[in-house]
Amino acid sequence: MIHFRTPIEGVERPRMEADVVIVGGGPAGMACALRLAQLIDAHNAAHPDAALSKENIYLLEKSREAGQHCLSGALLDPRSMRELLPSFEKEAPIDGECTKESIYYLTRTGKRRFPFTPPPMRDHGNYVISINKFVKWMAEKVEAAGITVFTGFAASEVLFDGDAVIGVQTDDKGIDKNGQPKANFEPGYNLHAKVTVFCEGARGSCTKQLVERYRLEDPKHAQVYGVGIKELWEIPTGRIAKGEIIYTLGYPLTTKEYGGAWIYGMRDSLLSVGYVTGLDYEDPRTDPHHAFQSFKEHPVLRGILKDGKMIRYGAKSLPYGGWNSMPRLFGHGWMLAGDSAGFLNSQRLKGIHLAIKSGMLAAETAFDALLAGDASAPELATYKARVDASWIREELYPVRNFHQAFEHGLWQGMAKAGLQHVMGGANLGPDSKAHPGYENMRHVNALNPFREGRMQFLGAAKGDRKLTFDKLTDVYYSGTRHEDDQPTHLVIADLSICNDRCTKEFGNPCQFFCPAAVYEMVEEAGEKSSAPEKKLHISFANCVHCKTCDIQDPYQIITWVPPEGGGGPNYDGM
């Protein structure tokens, strides 16, 4: 019997009062906290008689240390950081400025270089960074500014009062695998806040509660996602220079799937390499981790990685939908920022600068709300107005149809995207619609038996343990740790669907889309007859918190909730 995590009932919960609670300490949350501290400091200097306190502004972060759950390529467009901390380039951990870029289209064994780099992909002036180190540095700034960062604490529930969000409940600690309190049980806090800003990253678990309760998404423009798989490699020097950027399209995905790769030179001997697979593919056996492993077997990559050593692994989902897919950003007592709200430019493959900017704008709105003593929806509506008036809209609106153009494959997509580029982002008709990517998944028996050239990414990768790896080996390199004796945090609404209907219809795609070997179909003695039946096993301790299962499960019965705070991957240096 699997016991799923749910807040424990019938306990007295400690309560804490806050002015602002920021949920999630990634670039958006840290920028929000820092901007808020700056505004309060400036206000207090100008109005010492009506000073505001920073004492009751809190940031919750589920990882044990700041930055450990942050994963990205990463390329930073410095625009918003220069607004937040004008001299950040002098002190922030930056690996290198982008010096050279190229794009290739890969066939199985060959490559074709794009004759020129399309303008949106030009990265001169951007920085290659480790988002882990960068966010860790931001956290130091936030703490030095006098804002309390609670690491190792997740927001597990949103607290509502009628139509308003009044804060969050933190995770219960010390619950055993059967859902019983252990000797060191600590109930989660009820953290009451005037304003709660959700910056949980892609497919945030609290954000999902809000999206469902308030129907924040436009059904015609559902959010669509991809999952990025990344490895950090140490390689002999002289192959990829620090600051060199390579993007590839094509192999191993076919033209039917959306996706592509990045290769960033972080140092002369340190490489960030990763592959994004769109979570809107049709073959349920598609394994994004396998796609990445096959990508590394391409001759171009073999050459770059030869005699190198993989040192870190990670996976994380990202929202691609763009401007039209963004949910409503505010309501009574709450705002959404960063990836949680879809602030990502899928054409430029960048979101960090937008996450930071959105966090800053949310901070400005929260600051005004504190001053006015009013955090109602009309007051917080100024957040949306700020976004619309900022360069975020200037950047995102013209590319609003970009990802949607690729719905019918790469060639149509390139043609449409080219046309959009000339037409200021418009189609030859209304804006493209988007439906959730999992709806594209087809039943196993409805698929072409010849697999349509997809052999290289269907099913799990085996790995040679030098260039390519199986999932378990990779998970080891993600540094993932969870308390073993706790309830399963991948909450499945109806296991009988997994063990019966899904097996017949989709062949249990969770085994394949999960990049961390959490889901496995294991033969067990059957209940009705002696014939063994395959049952779903959930190795939740492997979970790297990428949220792919929550997004891509075709029945939408998996809900990712935060495990005991402090657990999860450790993306040191990623």
């Binding site: 400690p14 804490m16 044990r64 240390e65 309390t148 040192i311 540094g479 040191d572």
Partner: protein, 256 residues
Amino acid sequence: MKILVCMKQVPQKDAPLKLNEAGTWIREDVSYEVNEPDAYALEEALRQKEKHGGEVVVVTAGPARAQQVLREALAKGADRAIHLVDDSFATIDPVSTARAIAAAIESESFDVVLTGLQSDDFGFAQTGVLLAELLGWPHGTIIIGIEKTETGLRLKRELEAGHYQWMDIPLPCVLTIQSGINKLRYATLIGIKQARNKPVKQMTLADVADKLGTNLQTIERLYIPVKQKKTEMLQGSSAEIAKKLVDKLRNEARVI
């Protein structure tokens, strides 16, 4: 009881370690955490204080980053902290560390000093015992149970093969604590918030330098064991093979 807990920051367990360029220690770009038995020592100190009253003070000797372990200890309920701050504290020998700690608490009078029984990185298991010697106090090692008596403490020590030893010890004393002696508590939000206002006394190497003596230990070379796999076929009759095998197991592999 006034209790001092000595804590150390060590590389996180399971962290993939890489050697530094000089091959003398690991590269610093790993995550750090509280040395596991030290966390149990802290928990034991907090429990004793909750039972008998008193004060819990935590001390660490290490680089600036080691302040994290003090903050965690304060968040869990320690009253104040002392930080001997210097990069060199990460590598000096155990007697120097013990001398530094002894110098740092010179003006105080503790009833009990608790340490973890050894560190997860160097694993010397000496600092606590040496500290007892420097203070002129009795010590007990590998402690898995502490009870206050009228004259001092009654201790349970873990011996090998499931054997235990009970002993009485007068105060003041130094005890090195075994992991698993208790169940660790979680830090709470309110604890973390209150910890921000608890005093952390910073002491530099210069403050204790004249008490340190000469550091007698340096790491010359650290290396990753080379994997060696040799297959040797033993020839002869069964009896001869068995004889050779026994010889090899006894004299080469030394497992029987």
